[in-house]
Amino acid sequence: MIRFDNVSKRYPGGHEALTNVSFHLPRGQMAYLTGHSGAGKSTLLKLIALIERPTRGNLLLDGVNLSQVSNHKVPYVRRNIGIIFQNHHLLYDRSVFDNVAMPLIIAGYQHREIGKRVRAALDQVGLLSKEKCEPITLSGGEQQRVGIARAIVHKPPLLLADEPTGNLDPELSRDIMQLFERFNQVGVTVLIASHDLDLIQQMGKPVISLSQGMLVHNDLQEVADVTL
């Protein structure tokens, strides 16, 4: 599903956030991405979602070389990805319902369908009662969960999550991770950047680790060997 091939990313300031990163995340696989603060985790996820473009190397998503996707086509790539952003990125001028409905509206779903799916997604993150609230009136963890609901509402084949449990208590964090696991069980490919090493260990999924922009640990190689 996702193949990094010697990918490097240098930001305009001159800082090289990723250096020669190569790995392959097969379709239907779930994996964790760890690394110290500033290691390049968010950058890696941004490259997959075409929020940034690599400076060097090739990045294949579902067989498509992303450097050949024109700006014009970017939205259609993103629609097949559910993204949970590290800083939530909610729309503060509309209700929780409208926030979560946004990917469905963009994809042109019908009105009835939208209501059903949005409520299902909100229920999964435990926020059904906050449907009509403004995001600004939610607690930090509640906002984060709205972001999660928005990422899963259109049931994308790929889910990218950047620190999805940073503002959640341990119990809720485990619930959310299990939610991702359930998604994975029905075929969704999942990549989660997280610091919560204890929780990651409990989940028992392959881990990729970055340090200073370089890949220092990769469980996926073994996975690939096994699946081959």
């Binding site: 259609y76 990805i81 990125h89 928005r150």
Partner: protein, 318 residues
């Protein structure tokens, strides 16, 4: 994957859904505006005033050309006929003159009438009475058709008339005409200049207002784009917002301009009376008002298009 197929089916909803989405966005953008009534009104008012000024100016200009027709009536050529010409010959000449393209109307002042009038108005009453016979010739007053764009035409007419064998002298109060033209030139130049300034102002004000309004929603644009919206989708609500601004601004401009014209009408009526003209100050015609509102909507749309496009370009991946 059966889920993705189901998705596709739900997505390929009847074409109707597209239009329903449009309508929703149209109404939603109106709702958005009404949630911030004060700032929406201020923006609308700025657009309206920016538009009302050149509109009123245009109405005034429109009217000015009518007024200047009134003024032109004051410019007349006096044909002093040769002393030997009889009143009958004078009337024949008058009939001939009426056929000239360049001549609007003619009027004969028989010499007896002229003398009486002259005595009355000149203050030379006594002196002239001492004269045995009337020294005055018949006079034909010619009102030329004045083509504002070709002041030389009138000179040509005067020359032509002066060469008629019945005519002793063709005279024009040239001073008055020159003044008229000078004034018209200033008025035109002034209005032309103010129109340019105002046109610039309208574009800038409307553009800038919508630009700033949209800049406030930069974050929103970015977020919607990040979750897979196309540029067209992002632009839509902003275009509708621009459209609403344009529509309400245009309507308000129409009202303002009608109100201004109404205020002026009184004074103009009095002036018109002095020129014994049946001229009436008129506001915008319905077609003109529609043009104004259409233009205003166009400005709103174009302004928001430009503003959003700039923001959209800023967040392309690099």
């Amino acid at each position: 994957m059966s889920r993705s197929e189901a998705n596709r089916q739900a997505r390929n909803a009847p074409f109707k859904a597209y239009w329903i989405h449009h309508l929703r966005t149209l109404i939603a953008s109106l709702g958005m505006l009404s949630r911030h009534p004060l700032s929406s009104f201020m923006t609308t008012a700025v657009i309206a005033i920016a538009l009302a000024l050149p509109t009123t100016m245009y109405a005034a200009l429109n009217n000015l050309s009518q007024v200047s027709i009134g003024w032109d009536n004051s410019a007349q050529i006096s044909l002093f006929l040769r002393p030997e010409i009889t009143e009958k010959q004078a009337r024949a000449l008058m009939a001939k003159l009426k056929l000239y393209d360049d001549i609007d109307s003619v009027k004969l002042i028989p010499k007896d009438l002229a003398l009486r009038e002259f005595q009355k108005t000149s203050g030379f009453g006594e002196a002239l009475e001492q004269l045995g016979k009337n020294p005055l010739p018949h006079v034909i007053e010619v009102k030329p058709v004045i083509d504002q764009s070709r002041p030389d035409k009138i000179n040509h007419l005067i020359k032509q008339l002066g060469q008629l064998k019945q005519v002793d002298l063709a005279q024009l109060d040239l001073q008055w005409v020159k003044r008229l033209y000078a004034m018209l030139e200033i008025a035109h130049k002034g209005i032309w200049m103010i129109s340019i300034l105002l046109g610039l102002a309208v574009l800038l004000v409307v553009g800038n207002t919508i630009r700033l309004d949209i800049q406030n929603r930069q974050e929103e644009i970015k977020v919607i784009k990040l979750i897979g919206a196309t540029n067209a989708f992002i632009r839509r609500p902003f275009l509708y917002t621009g459209f609403w601004y344009g529509l309400s601004g245009g309507l308000l401009a129409w009202i303002l301009s009608a109100f201004s014209v109404g205020l002026l009408a009184d004074s103009v009526d009095r002036l018109a009376l002095l020129y014994t003209s049946d001229f009436q100050l008129s506001g915008l015609s319905f077609a003109e008002a529609m043009t104004l509102i259409g233009f205003s909507c166009f400005l709103g749309l174009a302004g928001s298009w430009l503003a959003v496009s700039r923001q959209l370009n800023d967040i392309e991946p690099s």
